[in-house]
């Protein structure tokens, strides 16, 4: 499988990363180089092998459904690049 410039632009859009035309051109070669290299995984016989989900056997712990944190609004907002009152500020999204 190989990617073309349209695909690169689509991946960039899905990744929410703005790229210029020149960057897209460069990325076509780089991604194809890397993808051609990982392609060798296709030659491994994986019949009957379950994809790994956990490297070390561990059970997912459950805890009681109670409030254990919160009430830290100012801390949550402390690093916001823009805030208005007690809210994160974002560009207008609704006309």
């Amino acid at each position: 499988m190989s990617v073309d410039k349209d695909t690169v632009n689509k991946i960039a859009r899905l990744s929410r990363i703005a790229i210029s035309d020149a960057e897209a051109d460069k990325m076509v070669g780089e991604l194809n180089g890397i993808l051609a290299w990982v392609e060798q995984l296709g030659e491994v016989d994986v019949t009957g092998v379950e994809p790994m989900t956990a490297v070390i056997a561990n059970k997912l712990r459950l805890r009681d459904d109670v409030v254990t944190d919160g009430d830290v609004r100012d801390k949550v907002l402390a690093n916001a690049p823009a805030k208005e009152g007690s809210f994160f500020g974002v560009p207008k999204v609704i006309e």
């Binding site: 499988m1 990617v3 695909t7 690169v8 991946i11 960039a12 859009r13 899905l14 990744s15 929410r16 990363i17 703005a18 790229i19 990325m27 780089e30 991604l31 180089g33 890397i34 993808l35 290299w37 990982v38 392609e39 060798q40 995984l41 296709g42 491994v44 994986v46 092998v49 379950e50 994809p51 790994m52 989900t53 956990a54 490297v55 070390i56 561990n58 997912l60 712990r61 805890r63 830290v72 801390k75 949550v76 402390a78 690093n79 916001a80 690049p81 823009a82 994160f88 974002v90 560009p91 207008k92 999204v93």
Partner: protein, 494 residues
């Protein structure tokens, strides 16, 4: 007067406990060394006041007869991937420049509880993505080492924990934290002639550590000898309910358990690691390592890890896939950089912020990850890689039937020069060929100095152990350390 830069973790801790010197004296001496070594660019932020504050508290506790922690009085460097309350944490990325956490990572909190102090936040590859510390937004870290041909070429300290490795080798700090996703503790340790261990996945909490690839990320210590690594790992490790993959197990007394007598231990030598065209110095060091472990009483056995060659390609699907998901949080809304072009809407703001904030290698990996997880390609790439990962882990399980530990080189070469490998991403990735398999299998693995290359640069030997058997890994590391006679140091040119 004691030259505190020559003391390791154990020596500082014991000297402070015995009253031979004060913790504050050590902190002052190392603060001065840190601030005089700016040419190495190891620290992004220096925190001399934090080091002094912690030392004063240890001195006061000692004066009051209170019990002292395991790292009491030891100033360390903190990789800038660990969130530190009130101190900027960047992951060496522009996108987090100015981010000041309002909380402390579990691992760093454990270290402060044990009496350690912080000299500053150490430089690294951006989001821990890199093997040479050339992807940091805050500039390259320079290794204190130079080739023995009189050249002054700047060498890579390895990566991603390159600030940690360089600072320890330059004796700016006796120890530092590292994180290892695909070799990021072991390879930099090897490049500068120090030791470092990545424990079993789940030993050290990931809570408060900036995430790269969550199924692989593990914190661990880096220091100048094996004992110091054991002490520091003991302080860092432990169950943390805030990390769902944290192992709910007691922390073994690794320091007390150190024993370099390897009688009864079988050491596996994986034939697949003896690559065609293996570097001559690396091959020789590996043979020396085998001889040292034999001398320590171990039995050497040949083993096979048949899927080794697929580890790197599997890693370069799995790690970017997880990264693309983890790094989705950098959106210019809640923390970090925001780039809002004139008249831009929300979606344009996301894209502009992430383009401006992430470095080239980070953008590349996010895009690869996004691609392999996208509709139509998920099974061909991601699911296939996770199956191959299961086979790589199975290779190790099979090997444990005939051996207790595995000995291999840490990296395929000695340190390379800055700029020598970054033109082609693939050639950089290949540097982690020996380190990645143990990461994919979640196993404890350590690098210890094994000798010098013809150019006079350090080379590392890697010991891989069974899950949860850090003790055996440390013990074999100690056996090598006692026999390698590695005393070489970088000249103090900076």
């Amino acid at each position: 007067m004691t030259d505190f830069s020559r003391l390791g973790v154990a020596a500082i801790r014991d000297g402070v406990a015995k009253g031979e010197f004060k913790a504050v004296e050590v902190a002052e001496a190392l603060n001065a060394r840190v601030s005089a070594a700016k040419a190495l660019n190891t620290f992004i932020v220096e925190t001399p006041e934090k080091a002094i504050e912690a030392a004063q508290s240890v001195d006061a506790d000692r004066a009051a007869g209170k019990p002292l922690g395991q790292m009491a009085g030891v100033p360390i460097g903190m990789k800038d991937l660990f969130c530190t309350e009130g101190v900027q944490t960047t992951a060496a990325s522009h996108i987090l420049e100015g981010f000041v956490p309002t909380y402390e990572s579990t691992v760093s909190a454990n270290l402060w509880k044990a009496g350690a102090g912080m000299l500053g936040k150490l430089n690294l590859d951006q989001f821990a993505m890199g093997s040479s510390n050339e992807t940091s937004y805050f500039g390259n870290v320079i290794s204190p080492w130079r080739r023995n041909d009189g050249s002054t070429a700047a060498l890579a300290p390895g990566g991603s924990s390159g600030g940690s490795s360089s600072a320890i080798a330059a004796r700016l700090c006796p120890a530092a934290t590292g994180t290892d996703t695909g070799g990021s503790i072991r390879q930099p340790a090897a490049f500068v002639g120090i030791s470092g261990i990545k424990p079993t996945y789940g030993r050290c909490s990931r809570w408060g550590v900036v995430a790269f690839a969550s199924s692989l990320d593990q914190a661990g210590p880096m220091a100048r000898d094996v004992r110091d690594c054991a002490i520091m790992l003991e302080s860092m490790a432990g169950f943390d309910p805030k990390d769902s993959t944290s192992l709910d197990l007691p922390v073994p007394a690794w320091e007390a358990g150190l024993n370099s007598d390897l009688k009864g231990k079988r050491i596996g030598i994986p034939k697949e690691y003896r690559l065609d065209g293996i570097d001559e110095d690396i091959a020789k060091m590996w043979d020396n390592g085998i001889a040292w472990l034999k001398d320590a009483g171990a039995e050497i056995v040949d083993i096979s890890l048949p899927h080794t060659k697929y580890a790197l390609p599997a890693y370069y699907i799995i790690a970017p896939a997880e990264a693309s998901s983890n790094l989705a949080r950098y959106d210019g809304v809640r923390f970090g950089l925001r780039d809002l072009p004139e008249g831009a809407g929300l979606q344009d703001m996301y894209a502009a912020t992430r383009a401006a904030g992430f470095g080239e290698e980070v953008r590349r990996r996010i895009m690869i990850g996004t691609y392999v997880l996208s509709a139509g390609f998920y099974d061909a790439y991601y699911t296939q890689a996770q199956k191959v990962r299961a086979l790589i882990a199975r290779d190790f399980d099979n090997a444990w039937a005939s051996c207790d530990l595995i000995l291999a080189p840490t990296a395929p070469s000695a340190a390379f020069g800055l700029g020598e490998k970054n033109a082609d991403p693939l050639s950089m990735y290949l540097n982690d060929v020996f380190a990645v398999p143990a990461s994919l299998a979640g196993l404890p693995a350590m690098s210890v100095p094994g000798g010098l290359s013809k150019e006079g640069l350090p080379l590392g030997l890697q010991i891989i152990g069974k899950a949860l058997d850090e003790q055996a890994v440390l013990n074999a590391g100690l056996a090598i350390e006692q026999r390698s006679g590695f005393t070489a140091e970088a000249g103090e040119w900076w």
